[in-house]
């Protein structure tokens, strides 16, 4: 009886896994279909590898520019997000000062603020500082909105850093800066990876913020470009459309497949400790 129950569970899970994977595999396969193949039923396999879809996508959707912009914005932002959050989290958890608790709550509160509440004032602020429509403006906004979550996760990781190690270092003559760089950072590498990955995925996948603050074609980001491409040509050029979607998906997918243990473990750790 128990065996039957377990069999049913396995079966349901396999169905779920198929539902999770099949659309993505279908996406990949369809991106290689020639235009004429789309008259045939959708679940058929492609007849060959029609790479032209990708070259059309690159030229018509300006994938090169979109990619370049998104890479610049995302990579710059995650570096600063980690740096700023790590130092602040260290100061709040390991150092002793009167307002550390208050600062913890102050910054963590930002996690509850949804992005769209800030759009209008941020728009006006960027306008005033002439950062509207620029990659730098996007970077600043992404850094500020990613800090609360990263800060919160890092405080969780730093809390588990044993104070004895820091004490031993201080006794050996380390000043606080060396303590941070030589001890805190190496010991919390797991936390750093989790935070950077989370920030990367959130920024790379973002639509709302990148759409609001940049409208010029030279500075557009990938997801915004994808959305307008779908709007323009979604109904006609199916092949290039699928190729563009693939291009938007591939980086995060690849990163995920390489680092998935770290990401899932980091998320799980944060959930259980927090």
């Amino acid at each position: 009886m128990a065996k039957l129950g377990r069999g049913v569970l396995k079966f349901l899970l396999v169905i779920l896994l198929v539902i999770d994977l099949y659309p993505i595999i279908w996406l990949l396969l369809s991106s290689f279909k020639k235009e004429a193949e789309f008259i045939k039923p959708m679940y058929m396999l492609p007849e060959g590898l029609h790479w032209q879809n990708y070259s059309v996508a690159i030229s018509q959707a300006h994938l090169g520019t979109l990619f370049k912009n998104t890479v610049i914005v995302t990579c710059t932002s995650i570096v600063f997000v980690w740096l700023f959050s790590a130092t602040a989290a260290f100061a709040v958890t390991k150092m002793k000062w009167r307002w550390s608790k208050m600062m913890l709550h102050y910054i963590t509160m930002g996690m509850f603020i949804p992005a769209f509440v800030l759009l209008l004032p941020q728009f006006l602020l960027l306008q005033k500082t002439h950062l509207l429509n620029s990659l730098a403006g996007l970077i600043v906004i992404f850094i500020s909105t990613s800090i609360p979550m990263s800060f919160y996760l890092l405080t969780g990781f730093y809390k588990y850093l044993p104070d004895e190690i820091l004490e031993a270092a201080v006794m050996d003559g380390c000043d606080i800066y060396r303590c941070f760089v030589k001890i805190a950072i190496p010991l919390s590498l797991n936390g750093a990876v989790t935070v950077i990955m989370l920030a990367f995925v959130n920024i790379w996948n973002d639509l709302l913020i990148s759409q609001t603050f940049v409208s010029s074609n030279t500075n557009k980001l990938l997801q915004v470009g994808l959305a307008s491409f779908i709007d323009d040509r979604g109904n006609r050029d199916w092949g290039p459309t699928f190729a563009t979607i693939c291009a938007a998906v591939l980086p995060t997918l690849a990163l995920y497949l390489v680092l998935n243990r770290k990401i899932i473990d980091g998320l799980s750790a944060g959930a259980v400790k927090g």
């Binding site: 679940y43 209008l120 941020q122 639509l207 779908i230 995060t252």
Partner: protein, 294 residues
């Protein structure tokens, strides 16, 4: 040791970058948003103080009420689905598939990392009906179920359900992974003790595992509330708030009011109301946890 840890200059240096950026671009803008709700017009051009008029306008706004209900539907169906189905899948993983659990978790979490825009674009093709059948419709055709073929995202009776379902597909993995982490931490000796005392599998789950999972459940519910109420990517790309206004959730309504109609004051009001809704709901959930004294 103490002196090192109290080094004021170091504390300042460590805190300043984050605090500065956060205050200037998050905290201060939030205060400004609330301030804006008492005005109407375009800032720096013709902003005039209207007191609570924007809030009064909300009560009579049919569009607002419609968007509110749409958002609530999304919150209950997708938000609720995330938590309940996420837990169910985590339980299935724990009790049904221990051996391949890592591979399963990787596949289940996969849709979460896909950009919302890409997922919406992908599924708009999956659900397509003209000019050719998309994946779903051609499979229905294959199985001889032609009567079910329809324009899933173009039909006002099914459009919102499609948005809910696609986002459900995309988000379940996130909650499953969190629940699974909590499940794995349930001490096995407790379960075994109950089993020895004669409790069946389901009873063990109900009386021991679920209560021990409470903190994780609360966290998931809070996350689901936040994520479902601020949904934007999916309905915008899949159906652009349509057909008509059937999928215009509050965030889309706010965006269109503020950035296409340039009604900054009213747009801020919608945003602030949504913020209050999120805060009220999350506080209620967290208070519920504290009340049960864990």
């Amino acid at each position: 040791m103490e002196k090192v840890l109290r080094d004021k200059k170091a504390i300042l240096l460590f805190m300043l970058p984050a605090v500065l950026v956060y205050t200037a671009f998050v905290f201060f803008p939030m205060c400004q948003s609330i301030y804006f709700t008492f005005f109407e017009g375009t800032p720096n051009v013709d902003f005039e103080f209207v007191g609570l008029q924007n809030y009064a306008k909300l009560f009579h706004d049919v569009n607002f009420k419609e968007s509110f209900l749409t958002t609530m539907q999304y919150f209950l169906v997708t938000g609720g689905g995330w938590v309940i189905l996420g837990l169910a899948v985590a339980l299935m993983l724990q009790y049904g598939m221990k051996r391949f659990s890592n591979l399963s978790r990787t596949i289940i979490y996969l849709p979460v990392v896909i950009p919302g825009v890409a997922a919406a674009a992908l599924f708009s093709k999956v659900l397509e009906v003209t000019p050719t059948y998309g994946l779903v419709n051609s499979l229905l055709d294959l199985l001889g179920l032609e009567q079910f073929i329809r324009g899933w995202t173009g039909d006002s009776s099914t459009a919102m359900w499609m948005v809910c379902l696609v986002d459900l597909w995309k988000g379940i993995g996130y909650y499953t992974v969190i629940f699974y982490a909590g499940l794995v931490n349930v001490p096995t000796d407790l379960e075994e003790a109950a089993r020895i005392d004669g409790a069946g599998r389901l009873t063990v789950i109900r009386k021991i595992v679920l209560p021990l999972l409470k903190p994780v459940t609360v966290m998931c519910v809070v996350l689901a509330i936040m994520n479902s109420l601020k949904v934007y990517d999916m309905p915008v790309v899949l159906t652009d708030g349509g057909p008509g206004r059937t999928t215009t959730v509050l965030s889309i309504y706010m965006y269109k009011t503020a950035f296409t109609k340039w009604q900054y004051g009213y747009g801020s009001t919608i945003a602030v109301v949504l913020l209050i809704l999120i805060l009220v709901l999350t506080q209620a959930v967290m208070r519920f946890e504290r009340k049960d004294g864990k």
